[in-house]
Symmetry: C2
Subunit: 398 residues, 2 copies
Amino acid sequence: MTTTLDQHTIPRGFRFAAGTAGIKASGRPDVAIIEAPLGANAAAMFTRNRVAAAPVVVGRNHLAAARGKLRAIVVNAGNANCATGESGMRAAEKTCAQLAVLLGTTPENILPSSTGIIGVPLPLDKLIASLPGVLASARDDAVLDVAHAIMTTDTRPKIASAVVRATGKTASVMGVAKGAGMIHPDMATMLVYILTDAVASPSMLRRVLRAAVAQSFNCISIDGDTSTNDTAVLMASGASQWRASDDEKQFAAAVTSVCMSLAAQIVADGEGVKHRVTLRVEGAANTAAAARIARTVAQSLLVKTAWAGADPNWGRMLAAAGRAGVVIDPHTVDIWIAGQKVCGHGTAVAFDEKQAHRDMSAPEYEIRIRVGNGPGASRILTADLTAEYVHINADYST
Amino acid sequence: MTTTLDQHTIPRGFRFAAGTAGIKASGRPDVAIIEAPLGANAAAMFTRNRVAAAPVVVGRNHLAAARGKLRAIVVNAGNANCATGESGMRAAEKTCAQLAVLLGTTPENILPSSTGIIGVPLPLDKLIASLPGVLASARDDAVLDVAHAIMTTDTRPKIASAVVRATGKTASVMGVAKGAGMIHPDMATMLVYILTDAVASPSMLRRVLRAAVAQSFNCISIDGDTSTNDTAVLMASGASQWRASDDEKQFAAAVTSVCMSLAAQIVADGEGVKHRVTLRVEGAANTAAAARIARTVAQSLLVKTAWAGADPNWGRMLAAAGRAGVVIDPHTVDIWIAGQKVCGHGTAVAFDEKQAHRDMSAPEYEIRIRVGNGPGASRILTADLTAEYVHINADYST
């Protein structure tokens, strides 16, 4: 599957650049810059992990100091610049300062991102030395180069877009992301940059981004780990002169659809993932209870390994639901696999096991768990756990 | 490694029997009976999973109805009799009733246990038909036969014992257990039967068992799943005439040491386990915070796969500690692998990486994480996650 930009409209008011600083051991591109030459309004969300990487801390500070104005994002892959102490903070600051000099702006207008191994000093000299050359390659349409350069164990670049229209004007929303491992609600080693040429204030961008993330990146889980570097940025250049305030609903829907597409792409490209599962939990006492059950089932190793084997072992799902720390009556639990009921009132029902196995052999299917008659429902996009995941992660740095 | 009874003293007042009902597809022994011909006092602890198997419900009821008196335990492996509805409850009741007839006692004096696949009706006819033959094979010393018959994916039987002494008399405490997968704090598909010929009241047995379980089975984690069938029983025949009330401390220590040995054996024989890790978390605000961090680290797939690769990737442990939902300051975190400091103040310190890799290649080692200067500490016995675990669990029922 080759990713192309054919069906995408690239938002105006941005320039994209990528290059190789030599941070990735593979020698592949590992630096990306997204620049808004005339500046942009922006909002960002970061990891909730108590161990936040240096670029997360610096990026949060910069965005606050610049009151939601952003000139550029600079990303490196191959090193997370996390657990790198004071020198890591200085490295993130210096990267921004250097790029600010090259762009003729202030460091506060630069947001840094890093992804890769934790606890190894960022090769700052290499990164800084690469910046002029990378910047020289900037183009209006080099989105794919950026999407490639931010990849770590991703196997495919991730891009999504949407168009908004009103009174003859159009604006576009486009997102690029990297994901792969460590994906879990409350984000993941997930870097997401959403760009739009709509006109929107920082406060609206914050509101729209928060809602979109809640429905997309916070509803996916691969391995239950939350990264130290998660970052989602929404940047509006205003170049289309389409005012988001004229139709915030349409704008929010476009941003959400881009986020949902990127979230699905991230799960699909999860480390070792063979099957993507949309897990719906309903009938819980409230949304929080439903979400807790969904997360517990989605994180259960026994459930995830059964999915890897396309094994309709609903007992493991029932058992995981039972230990979620939520009061449920097992005798009110029904489970469906790809639309086929496999458990009723907490007990086996006759079902076509071969069909269930076939359904679960597909790359994507749905599982629905009803735990009672309450109003609480939750949906999570998750995946199986394969031996390949273990191989990828047991061989990471040695 | 062959397990023998050479170093064990079998408690008096019990008879042990095992046989084959044909429940396990392998055709291996799958039924076990532990009988106290003159009766015994008993205490039991069961799974906290909301989805509790029929034998757990029946066993809890029986022990309450019989006010802590027990004549026999009947165990089947190969089928968990869980999520089997009303007919599953009847099957557990009928098994007890049939054994009660054979032993000339009441069903309330029988405790049933089941382990194996969830959601498949228990082959009751086979089980009941096997009971007379199994019972006919009962011997005073057939502990190993019982330990074998209760195994599922276990590769080794698990036995531990201790002797208590006072004023010329001795009593023994012996435990048999099965474990393997689904092992997690708050117990696991873990069946544990601890037998003693000490004289002890049901209330003392409850107190001693609860304390012993807290320090042993509730401090181990393999895959984070809590089983629907977990059961730990402590049975005292009184045949030694050694009164536990004369030295409850010694008795409790003996029961705890047996439980700790069985817990260690269960982790060592965890599905696919190549490395056992004693994880200590200290310096937390309180014990609960330390335990939460320890569990989060012990459950992290990224941590467990790094352990599988003997990879001293302390960054993953730091990141897992950071997302435990406990307030910690990353800059106060120190991490040691097998005694070697690998992270200080949340940052890399120079360490001998080859030595750390060698230490982590051993079948057993310790990791210590200090998260601050608080008094809270917790210890968990856990293990790596290997591709073999995935293979075992992806092929369970298909």
